[in-house]
């Protein structure tokens, strides 16, 4: 066998390894059986009915969506400002500061979870909505800082300087020059931040208190019993992620799905 076809075979096997469980989950979510069975004996929407018919699940979905919405907006604003400061600033310790902002993406989630648990407990925010939002902002801001940081570094600073010499105030420069050029990256960053919050479970388990997000409830449900409703929820989650990926691909255009992260 030639090296090329061997590589292709390995790639296909790898792809199958990643895709098959997802496909099985999606197929099972439309099953008519009352327990997890594959292949399903018949098809129905009963598990979706069970999900949307259960107020606790719907409430968790609303919580997840609101949490992701709010925390990703805050992460976008703060993260973009941080990215600009780190990319354009000329102060000592910039690298350190950036590493600090990115750290939540690299550190094991459990470490952040424990740290936030202790910190939020100390300041009395453990189990509060504010504490939960803060935790999610810390987790999703690194995505914004990375994506927007790359975009800012790729944007010639002389274009900003020219705007000033042409008479633009800082506000006019940002609104008329910087933001229009960063828009695709800001959108990608926002979607990434949204999805990362929507999927988050480990830190949420530690700090959410009585708040239930979809992933948290899924986790808790699985501990008690394996109910096929889980497959319907999983399918919905996969749908959200897929939609987000498609959106980013659409926004970044020819640059590819993760193009905005890799730069031009």
């Amino acid at each position: 066998m030639r090296a090329g076809s061997f590589a292709a075979a390995v790639a296909l096997a790898g792809l199958a390894f990643l895709l098959v469980p997802i496909v099985i989950t999606i197929v099972m979510s439309f099953s008519s059986a009352s327990s997890l069975q594959f292949p399903p004996p018949g098809f129905s929407l009963r598990w979706y009915e069970s999900f949307f018919g259960n107020p606790r699940w719907v409430e968790a979905l609303v919580t997840s969506a609101l949490l992701a919405l709010v925390s990703s907006v805050i992460a976008l604003v703060l993260g973009s400002l941080a990215a600009y400061g780190v990319a354009r600033g000329r102060f000592p310790g910039r690298g350190l500061l950036e590493a600090n902002f990115i750290a939540p993406m690299i550190l094991p989630a459990i470490v952040i979870a424990v740290a936030l648990y202790l910190f939020l407990a100390k300041v009395g925010l453990l189990g509060s909505a504010l504490g939960l939002v803060l935790a999610h902002v810390i987790l999703s801001a690194p995505f914004v800082i990375m994506v927007v940081g790359v975009a800012i570094r790729g944007f010639d600073q002389r274009i900003e300087q020219i705007a000033f010499t042409l008479g633009a105030s800082r506000r006019q420069m940002v609104l008329r020059v910087l933001l229009p050029n960063l828009l695709p990256s800001l959108a990608s960053a926002y979607i990434l931040a949204f999805v990362s919050s929507f999927d988050e479970v480990i830190v949420t388990l530690f700090v959410a208190g009585t708040y239930e997000t979809v992933p948290k409830r899924m986790f808790n449900e699985l501990v008690l019993e394996v109910n096929p409703t889980i497959t319907a929820i999983a399918t919905i989650m996969i749908g959200v992620s897929l939609l987000a990926t498609l959106l980013i691909a659409l926004i970044s255009g020819r640059r590819g799905v993760m193009g905005s992260m890799m730069g031009k």
């Binding site: 002389r158 274009i159 705007a163 105030s169 008329r176």
Partner: protein, 361 residues
């Protein structure tokens, strides 16, 4: 209204001195070029005039007004970068309209002035295009139109022709010069390209390591360089070190080179500069062996070597055929074409006696 005055300008980055005690002025309507190698501090000077960099010491005045601490928005300067720095998301029209739009100029007036500015750089009809759809030369003209549309007091050009190919560059040079003259706008250009500097400027300011080496009209700086660096940086220079005698400059090897002593004491050390085009082959004075010819189309350059090992470059008359390597050639020059560096020898940039340093054009 548009004269620029530098009063003891200095810029330090930590222990590094980028510009040292610069005192100079640019007259209203004058075209001054700051010429220097990369790292000489020329771009720092430009960016201090633009207000993008603050000087460590000294003052900058534009039209008598102290602008040292004014933000770029309030300096009324038009700036063109080598990279053009057009706004990529805006059309040509909107790019040129930008300085007017941020000033809240009425829409009708913006349209009128943008059209006039684009016509002036011969880009009428290109208004609806995006910068990415234009050639380098066209982008450069958009940048120029944008820098001039709001009628700034001074125009700053940062290697504006550097990204253009050779043929286009000369065309744009001619255009730029006539535009500048028509508008009568005080212009400061920064470049490392000596041709650009010589052809465009009313005066040159030669800069090295943050220090002014010489200021003067292009032909004066070329014919009468102030020191070894200027002679070397501007065109090709044959340089000889020796001692002055009644008949000229005596090299350590014994040869006597024609030059005028300009009232300097006999026996004093001096550096003689002779441009390749002033060397007359066939006349007596010095003898050198032919090494090789460099053919440049419109002219050729012959590289020669004297018996003492000094290398020099001469421009032979048009159509001359290169002799075989090693052929001895008598050569000389008129005494008035030899220029003695005013500071005698340049201690900061020592060179072996009789060894000219060559800078390809």
């Amino acid at each position: 209204m548009g004269e620029i005055a530098f009063e003891g300008i200095e810029k330090r980055y930590g222990p590094m001195v980028a510009v040292r005690s610069l005192t100079a002025s640019v007259a209203q309507g004058e075209f001054l070029t700051i010429l220097g190698p990369s790292g000489s501090g020329k771009t720092t000077i430009l960016s201090m005039v633009a207000g993008l960099t603050a000087p460590t010491a000294g003052r900058i005045r534009i039209g008598g007004r102290n602008v040292t601490h004014l933000p770029p928005q309030e300096r009324r300067i038009g700036l063109v970068f080598q990279s053009y720095a057009l706004f990529p998301h805006l059309t040509v029209e909107k790019n040129v309209a930008f300085p007017l739009a941020v000033r809240g100029t009425p829409r009708g007036e913006i349209a009128r002035r943008v059209e006039a500015a684009l016509a002036r750089v011969r880009l009428g009809g290109f208004g609806a295009r995006k910068p990415a759809q234009l050639s380098g030369g066209q982008q450069q003209r958009v940048a120029l139109a944008r820098a001039l549309v709001f009628e700034p007091d001074i125009l700053l050009l940062d290697e504006p022709l550097g990204a253009l190919d050779r043929k286009l560059r000369e065309e744009v040079q001619v255009e730029l010069k006539s535009l500048q003259r028509d508008l009568g706008i005080t212009t400061l250009l920064v470049t490392h390209d000596q041709e650009e500097a010589l052809s465009l400027s009313d005066r040159l300011l030669v800069l090295d390591q943050g220090a002014v080496q010489q200021v003067g009209a292009p032909h004066m700086v070329y014919r009468r360089p102030a020191n070894r660096f200027v002679a070397d940086f501007l065109g090709l220079a044959n340089m000889f070190e020796g001692r002055l005698e009644a008949g000229g400059l005596r090299l350590p090897g014994g040869a006597l080179l024609p030059c005028r002593a300009d009232g300097r004491a006999e026996g004093s050390p001096a550096t003689l500069v002779v441009r390749p085009e002033h060397i007359r082959l066939g006349s007596s004075g010095l003898s050198a062996r032919f090494r090789q010819a460099v053919y440049l189309g419109h002219l050729q350059r012959w590289h020669l070597e004297t018996a003492e090992g000094a290398r020099l470059v001469a421009t032979p008359p048009p159509g001359a055929t290169a002799p075989a390597p090693g052929t001895p050639l008598p050569l000389g020059w008129a005494a008035e074409d030899g220029w003695l560096l005013p500071d005698g020898t340049d201690a900061a940039r020592p060179a072996l006696a009789g060894t000219p340093s060559l800078q390809p054009a």
